[in-house]
């Protein structure tokens, strides 16, 4: 709700002049001088007369009859006085009340105070019997454009932009004058652009072909699907091929040109959107597959419970969130930062325990490992289900991750997905540094390349196995943190990713981190680009077929490996 304000009278006159000009076209034709005289007369006479009109219309908003409400809204829109805005907005938000003395009140947010819509004085409303005017969709449809038109004179550019966009969505011929006058004073680039678009959408119906052409040209610069449909309608033909909607060939040519340019822009937007969603899907896959590339790729241990490590990470995030909510509510927005090490730790410890207790007895028997880890995944899923319930739990986005930035018209870069892409960079860097720049990494690589030789050189092989497995599982836990921000968190979260992440590792080639990175990005982008043409399911099948064919050509994946998993 915008704060209640009364504009100085000088500002209030401006729309009035405009109104007079618009409503008296015949006078304008007859004589400019006469018109000017009448306009100035109207200005002089306007203030008192209109003030009562405004009062009456505002009172009408609280009427019991919907017809009166509708008429008052129209009157207020015609008057174009921003002073009526708070009342109109209150009506939209169901905050308008009428008390026993028939005063029209605007309820404040807390519900105990209200302000008189006419005088602006504060009225305590606790204990009073208030009636709220009933509005239906028809009223709403009239109300929204009127609010938008009034908001165009708001001092806040955000409000003006929203209002302009509303006008683009519902173009009304009556608003043309208001838009033109707003364009004269408007300084903000984005608002101007939206206003021009709105104006063009109105002028495209004008009887003057010159105006239509200029409107079509303006529209050609947008990338809006509605605008495209409007332009396409101009080129409609009937059965015999005659153009029914647009008589002027020049306008038609301009419309066709504008359509082509819109199509080009829409294609660009959809390309960018697919690319972004593809990369973000790829990042999610990569987070799931990165740990797998370590446990399966480097150690040769096939871990079907890997998906459950993701799930544990997501639940660790959920728990961290709840702890922050109850104990550190003022730091709540930063729970995610704390969740990262927590999730890593939970999954890593679980991984190390599993490696110690079960997996090490199965080394060299991969098929048995597969079955045993599947059993582990069943146990983990059922345990989580019994502990947290079978329903999905709610993990909230922190404030700094919700919303998004509109990069192009029709393409919103959502912050949570963008953050995941960044997070993946962090995770890959972490793995790279751990494997390449730390003593642990050195040992891991030594054990991978030649296990017995490494043992001879004094590397504690079995302890390195444990740490490696812990690292791989911990990375999966990080993936769980990321997944909790974009999807549902439930006991079966991991199951959905296990097939895909194995595909990533197989495609990328076992044993190489770079392979996992490229494999994940390829799969993600290819999936997203196939989706519009084939649907998600056929896309998945096509990708599978593609992987099988690819393995025919390069059995070792994109990046061949040398090490103990390579068959000697």
């Amino acid at each position: 709700m915008t704060p209640f304000r009364r504009l100085p009278p000088s500002r209030r006159e401006a729309p009035e002049t405009d109104l007079t000009q618009r409503t008296m076209p015949s006078i304008k034709v007859a004589s400019l001088g006469l018109a000017a005289l009448i306009v100035s007369l109207a200005c002089l006479a306007g203030t008192p007369a209109r003030a009562t009109g405004l009062e009456e219309a505002l009172r009408g908003l609280g009427s019991k009859s919907r017809k009166t409400i509708l008429r008052s809204i129209k009157d207020l829109g015609r008057a174009g006085d921003p002073a009526a805005l708070p009342a109109l907005e209150a009506l939209r938000d169901r905050k308008l009340r009428v008390d026993e003395q028939d005063r029209v009140l605007i309820l404040a947010d807390d519900g105990t105070l209200a302000r008189d819509a006419l005088t602006g004085e504060e009225v305590p409303v606790a204990g009073q019997r208030l009636r709220s005017p009933v509005i239906n969709n028809r009223i709403r449809r009239t109300l929204l454009p009127v609010i938008a038109r009034l908001q165009l004179s708001s001092p806040d550019p955000g409000v003006r932009l929203a209002a302009a966009k509303e006008m683009v969505k519902r173009p009304r011929s009556g608003a043309a004058g208001a838009i033109r006058s707003a364009l004269e004073t408007e300084r903000d680039g984005k608002v101007r652009q939206a206003l021009r678009l709105a104006l063009a959408l109105i002028e495209i119906d004008s009887p003057d072909p010159v105006r239509r052409i200029s409107a079509v040209r303006t529209l050609g610069a947008s990338a809006n699907a509605n605008v495209r449909a409007r332009l396409a309608r101009m080129l409609q033909t009937n059965e015999s091929g005659e153009f029914t909607a647009e008589p002027d060939p020049e306008v038609r040519a301009a419309a066709a040109e504008a359509l082509r340019s819109i199509d080009r822009r829409l294609a660009l937007v959809s390309l960018a959107r697919n690319l972004f969603y593809g990369v973000s899907l790829g990042s999610v896959l990569l987070l799931a597959a990165l740990g797998l590339a370590i446990t399966f790729g480097l150690m040769g241990v096939i871990n079907m419970a890997h998906g459950e490590m993701l799930m544990l990470g997501a639940y660790a995030t959920f728990l961290t969130q709840n702890l922050f909510r109850s104990y550190l509510p003022e730091w709540f927005d930063w729970y995610l930062v704390a969740a990262v090490p927590v999730a890593f730790g939970v999954s890593a410890v679980m991984g190390m325990v599993l490696e110690r207790c079960i997996l090490r007895h199965l080394y060299g028997r991969p098929l048995e490992t597969l079955l045993a880890t599947w059993g582990i995944s069943l146990l983990l899923i059922q345990t989580v289900r019994l502990a947290f319930g079978a329903q999905n739990v709610e993990v909230a986005n922190p404030a700094w991750l919700s919303g998004g930035a509109e990069v192009m018209q029709g393409f919103v870069l959502t912050y949570n997905r963008a953050a995941i892409v960044l997070f993946v960079f962090f995770a890959v860097a972490l793995v790279w540094v751990l494997l390449r720049r730390t003593p642990l990494g050195l040992r891991v690589r030594a054990v991978t390349q030649n296990r017995s030789m490494a043992a001879c050189m004094g590397v504690p092989v079995s302890r390195v196995d444990m740490w490696t497995f812990g690292l791989g599982s911990g990375i999966a836990g990080l993936g769980g943190v990321a997944l909790s921000q974009i999807g549902n968190v439930g006991p079966e979260l991991g199951q959905a990713y296990i097939v895909d992440s194995f595909m990533v590792v197989v495609l990328g080639g076992v044993g190489k981190i770079a392979g996992a990175v490229w494999g994940a990005l390829c799969l993600g982008v290819v999936n997203k680009f196939l989706e519009p043409y084939t649907g998600a399911v056929l896309g998945k099948i096509l990708v599978l077929v593609f992987i099988i064919l690819f393995i025919q050509k390069r059995p070792q994946g994109m990046f061949a490996l040398k090490g103990r998993t390579a068959e000697g």
Binding site: L379, K540, I551, P555
Partner: protein, 373 residues
Amino acid sequence: MMGPWLDRLAAMHSRRGWLTTALVGAIGVIGVPALNIVPPPDTWLHIPDYVVMLLGKFLCYAMVALAMDLIWGFTGILSLGHGVFFALGGYAMGMHLMRAMAGEGVYRSQLPDFMVFLDWKELPWFWYGFDRFWFAMIMALAVPALLAYVFGYFAFRSRIKGVYFSIITQAMTYALMLLFFRNETGFGGNNGLTDFKRILGFSLQDPATKLGLYIVTAVCLLLTYLLCRYVVTSKLGRVLAAIRDAESRVMFSGYNPLHYKLFVWTLSAVLCGLAGALYVPQIGIINPSEMQPAGSIEMAIWVAVGGRGTLVGALTGAMLVNGIKSWFTVVFPELWLYVLGALFIGVTLFFPRGVVGFLQRFSKGGGSCTSNR
């Protein structure tokens, strides 16, 4: 000409083995139905109808376990896609049953109900012919065979083996499950095919029909067992075991493992298709959840629990695990997944040769159960 062939058949088992097989077969095929019909319902000897139905279901699972054992226990290839072959056989049978009741559905249309619901005007081309029983039966075996052959050819040719093969088959299962979940695929989508009325003119609600289906299943299982036994005791079976134990050496000896693997893989898929086709009329529904990757992995655990590389082990395992499952999901439904998980871990860790291997430790050289190991 018949002489050596009979000798060869007789050599499949020892004398004791044949006797045991005949005995178990007779109990399964004749004994159970007899106990269902002859004793009056309230005596302890009587086997109630629902147990017969349950046993019929288990026999289908046992057939799958045999197929699984053939490919995993004897050839060393762990398939996580056998649920697909099973479901495909089931769908072929289900399509026949749907066609057989044309005009009797809820909408009294010649089309299956779900097509009326989706507002389809005519039968899709792949539904043609399924109104004939023989055609549906051929399809129940041929479709899994074809899928297995094509998939196996590409996979084995590029020497995908071990866990890679398992993962790829699991991905296939997952993809096909998603495909069958779609309504547009034309197999009833999410709900699958259900609400069948009769098979070959016999009402499916009639206990006599159910008993008949059970007997047919038992006979098929017996024949399947003999076929598998024949395969694993033949020279082919020995090559398969060699492939399992040292594939490179088989290649160096001049054999091409591709054809052997492809044969046993396709045979295994066909047996699964048969099991699926027998399963659907007894259960009365087939839907894409039969294709869930988890289901296929469970099939592997039947074999592992019973004992890999022994056909008897596969049969025992399937019966045992499913028996436990039926009991647990009724009495302690929330504990069943724990039991299953523990089975997976315990068997692989402590009983790699399963129940049969465990028992063999006590009776050294035990007759009919031994594999060629």
